[in-house]
Point group: C2
Chain length 311, copies 2
């Protein structure tokens, strides 16, 4: 890895976040969970809904909550700043609809609101605090073991030590001004979505994203007729071990003529460490691409400007 | 509208599908719903989950179902052909996990399986039978009134009679080989996703898609720095009346410098007719674009080839 900059330091902390002990008590009698959150905080809810299967977990990314929100619903409001307008509004809706409410935030309005709150360390960019916001969910629902944490931390540490593969991928995307086309595998749609949003926020470019097998029912026709190897950079992030899905990767290449630049298989033995590994790899790819493009990966000035315009 | 072809006839049937009387009995004691479906059939589940709010509705687009699937779960397996591999597998999983099961299909394996089945008219492309598959859900859960059906049918009929706006949009996309960037508004993410998949399947092109306000937390940075008005065709599909979201459309244009080519406000007074109106408009845009590009909107040969390769 090249010389350190503030964003590199942000990336290097994910392995430590895995041991963040934050948790909360899941209220008795809860039969469903809604996670309210946007962007770099909301991704945590999407990821958790794919890693935890014992209760229904739905993600809400707006100002309002579904009508079925009731006293048997736990609404978890996640906002790193604690001030996200949509999530503050969802918090108020949850209270009004009589739900049990928990907050995960570093402070702000939500950190001080009338609800059990897990306060996470301040001062990071929300998308680099994904571990701080995810672990309290997994801890509270007993959805991760100490062994899984150790494995994940080890894998993340390895990536921090050698991410030359990520740098190569970024260089290939950069060299042809290519547009990333990122696919992940069911049920981990959130991994492709995370890469997409990191391309948006860190590298300041748009990207296409989707997930096997769903993409086979729509993207496939477009890939056959419009795939241009010099314009797109197709990449496949494999977290599944289901052979029925794995077969589709090669079959899709065969029938469309599109060839993935990389088929990246997750390391790790648990869905948790496999997801974090692929996510962190994307953190590095999008970081390197930002540096190559000469943009600041930490710059969110346009989003800040938008927030001011909306006040 | 120009001369008729088989696909035009497909499009013209949506207004009649609104009156499809198919329904089923929702079993007593059900506290959550999972809709299993892929592509043109799966979109029905996504749309229903946004239109119906009394019970949690989750969409599953893979071979397996969540662990929480139990006797209090209604699993609705939607596959127009009745033979979709993932949905047939999900049907078997649902039975194994002891869930209540309902099938919506035109026949095939699922149409003949051991479960209550709503059989819809055969012989269409799945994505043009969206009404046949959606109405049984809305009818069964009492989520649509006769008045709402009449309004929707009238709006769809008006679009069938004059879709010159859709033809103009298609011509603008075609003239510059532009890539569509389609945004919808919370909670109707499925409207943007439907346009995206129709661009894929009908027009055989890829497109970007997202939804307000979530996109403001990630796409915004990319739009500011990489928006090229000659490469992208940004369009906004407005189904909401929430002023907090409406404000974001103009504010996003102001801070990013991107200007929507069209901000299309839904017609109709109910979420149901508003969603169907915007979806049908996209059907026409993607159909016209296919004709301009010289591709057959009904051609799904690559998907068929893929299915054979997977056998």
């Amino acid at each position: 890895m090249g010389s350190r900059d503030p964003f590199t330091e942000e990336l290097l902390s994910l392995k430590d976040q895995v041991y963040f002990p934050g948790t909360f008590k899941v209220p008795a009698g809860i039969d469903k969970v809604i996670i309210a959150g946007m962007g770099g905080s909301g991704i945590v809810g999407r990821l958790f809904s794919e890693l935890y299967g014992e209760k229904p977990v739905m993600v809400s990314s707006g100002y309002t909550l579904p009508e079925f929100t009731d006293a048997k619903t736990l609404v978890i409001c996640i906002s790193y700043s604690g001030n996200t307008a949509e999530t503050v509004s969802s918090f108020n809706e949850a209270k009004r609809q009589g739900a049990a409410v928990v907050v995960i935030s570093s402070g702000g309005i939500l950190g001080a609101a009338d609800a059990e709150a897990v306060i996470v360390p301040k001062g990071k960019s929300p998308r680099s605090a994904i571990g701080y916001m995810l672990m309290p969910l997994l801890n509270a629902f007993g959805a991760v073991s100490e062994k899984e944490k150790r494995e994940a931390a080890l894998l993340l540490d390895t990536l921090d030590g050698d991410n030359s593969e990520a740098e190569k991928i970024a260089a290939e995307i950069f060299s042809g001004s290519r547009m990333p086309l990122v696919y992940s595998t069911f049920p981990n749609e959130s991994i492709a979505y995370r890469w997409n949003t990191q391309f948006n926020e860190n590298s300041k470019i748009l990207s296409f994203w989707g997930s096997f097998p769903e993409l086979n029912h729509n993207n496939t026709m477009a890939l056959k007729l419009t795939y241009r190897k010099n314009l797109l950079y197709p990449i496949c992030l494999v977290s599944t071990t289901d052979k029925r899905i794995l077969k589709r990767i090669k079959a899709t290449e065969d029938v469309t003529g599109m060839k993935f630049r990389r088929v990246l298989k997750a390391k790790g033995s648990s869905p948790f460490s496999r997801a974090l590994y692929l996510i962190h790899l994307g953190d590095y790819v999008t970081y390197y691409l930002a540096r190559m493009r000469g943009v600041d990966p930490l710059d969110v000035s346009t989003i800040e400007e938008l927030k001011r315009a909306l006040k």
